[in-house]
Amino acid sequence: MRWLDKKMEHSARGLAQRTSRRGFLGKLAGLVAGGAATVPLLPVARAQDNPFPEEQGDPNSCEYWRYCAIDGFLCGCCGGSANSCPPGTEMSPITWIGTCENPVDGKNYIVSYNDCCGKSSCGNCLCQRNQGDRPVYQPRISNDLNWCLGTSSNIYNCSTAIIIGAALDT
């Protein structure tokens, strides 16, 4: 609870400046991002023959490019990773989708924010960013919904950010 409190103080400062580009929960997560930033930013570059895009940055920081429309606990801080679920959870088959720009190649990619389900809130690396987010009447791009649907349990543990395609015409 101490860490949340720190994040709140952090968020208060951040908000007072009114310059942040992230939502209030994201701001709460700011300090965790800061904490994870004690981890040196590891380039996650991949071989050229690899169809995945090159990336860099800290996948456990709320600032990471894939999280432009996420809302929840980053699975990488919960025993999973940016694209896998923690042990004993179940990945939701359907979810909401964001379109985020990869700073490495300047391209936009479609990111699927599949939730991991069946255990209670991980509690780590809470992150909310709302780029392109829309109200729940547009569910496929709404991060206010719990997407633990079609899973054996409705309970939300954390969120992944899985690249499922590149966006054209952006």
Binding site: A12, G132, P135, D144
Partner: protein
């Protein structure tokens, strides 16, 4: 009963307890406090989503006039897994739509509408509903009552969308109304509700005497889902819903009848410079005078629609005129108002404490924290 049992059993314990007792009058055992049927106007109900322990959400009844940390807490009741909440106006009942699993975070899912007595904060009944209740951040229009509060309507998302209809007098689930492509429940006059749709229209469903669908209708598209989508977080004042838009406009929709009438969009911002936009979790409210309150932030951008607000702007919605700007002590994510003529403006600040303001003067009266609140997502004035 409890009191008798209590006395007896404690007596039994004391037979073996050291040291033995001298003769004084013991205090009564088993006493449980109760609350008035109508809460004082400045009591509020804090809806804590318990985002870090969602299966153990709480609703806390707080005297927002009090500066005494201990005694301003009047009681609490639970709500499981980001519940939806509705407080009846015509009877001393409160409703919680909630979700349980047979093994806490796993096992069979059961959704229920739990009915609470405002005087005891105890559940007096429950209605089991289809396990489809929308699981999402708390929104006022996920659970509503219509037809003189005789029918409860619960919004479902599986991701197919529908509405569960509960007959509150019979205390039974009577049916499910599909609302494909649409979401949420906005109460209409009579046995009807409306929903916002992804094509920019509003769907309206009229219910028959059995709570089944009698007829449905759709408005013309009245907003551009790409350029300037309406927010679902409307304030309903005298039967007119005021829907803010991402870009800082507001669309008034008359919900008094059984078919909505969409009014002309007007701007909340007018000529104001600074890129002001509405934003937050629950960002609108209203008072007994019928004034509209909107949580606002400057330097808006794509994605700022849930950022905390730093001011609350108060409007006369009939005159489409801004009456005052209230600067907040701390940025806030949610606002609420009390029901009286000297209303309090309540704001969940970014430390997740409750700031209490005089809604007329904007004076900051107190900050209420340290009452076990964790993530107080919604603030409800009481009835």
């Amino acid at each position: 009963m409890d009191k008798i049992l209590a006395t007896v059993v404690v007596g039994a314990w004391l037979v073996t307890a050291q040291p033995v007792l001298a003769e004084i009058q013991p205090e009564p055992l088993g006493v449980v406090e109760t609350l008035p049927e109508t809460y004082p106007a400045h009591w509020i109900i804090v809806q804590d989503g318990s985002f870090f322990h969602m299966s153990d959400g709480k609703f806390m009844v707080i005297d927002a006039d009090s500066d005494e940390p201990a005694t301003r807490f009047k009681g609490m009741f639970n709500g499981s897994f980001i519940p939806q909440f509705y407080q009846a106006k015509s009877k001393p009942e409160m409703y919680v739509a909630e979700t349980f699993h047979s093994r806490g975070n796993r096992g069979e899912r059961t959704d229920v509408l739990t009915i609470y007595d405002k005087r005891t904060l105890a559940p007096i009944d429950e209605v089991i509903i289809p396990p489809k209740r929308a699981s999402q951040m708390p929104l006022l229009y996920s659970l509503q009552l219509v037809d003189d509060e005789s029918l409860a309507l619960v919004y479902n998302f599986t991701p197919a969308t529908s509405v569960s209809v509960i007959d509150l007098s019979a205390r039974e689930f009577v049916g499910e109304i599909p609302i494909p492509g649409c979401a949420l429940v906005y109460p209409m006059g009579g046995r009807a509700f409306s929903s916002l749709c992804s094509d920019g229209t509003m769907l309206t469903v009229l219910l028959d005497d059995n709570g089944a669908q009698a007829s449905s209708s759709r408005t013309e598209a009245f907003f551009d889902v790409e350029a300037d989508p309406v927010m679902e977080k409307a304030a309903i004042i005298d039967g007119i819903g005021y829907f803010p838009t991402f870009m800082g406009n507001v669309v008034p929709i008359d919900l008094k009848g059984t078919t909505p009438s969409v009014g002309a969009k007007w701007s909340l911002v007018g000529g104001e410079a600074g890129g002001w936009r509405p934003g937050g979790l629950q960002l609108t409210g209203s008072d007994a005078r019928g004034h509209l309150y909107v949580l606002m932030h400057p330097e808006g951008y794509d994605g700022s629609h849930k950022d905390p607000g730093v001011e609350v702007w108060v409007f006369d919605p009939d005159a489409r005129r801004r009456l005052r700007r209230l600067e907040l002590e701390l940025p806030a994510i949610t606002i609420g108002l009390t029901r009286d003529d000297e209303p309090l403006l309540l704001a969940t600040n970014i430390n997740l404490e409750i700031d209490v303001y005089d809604a007329n003067s904007g004076a900051h009266l107190r900050t209420i924290g340290g009452f076990g609140q964790e993530t107080p997502f919604l603030l409800h004035g009481s009835h």
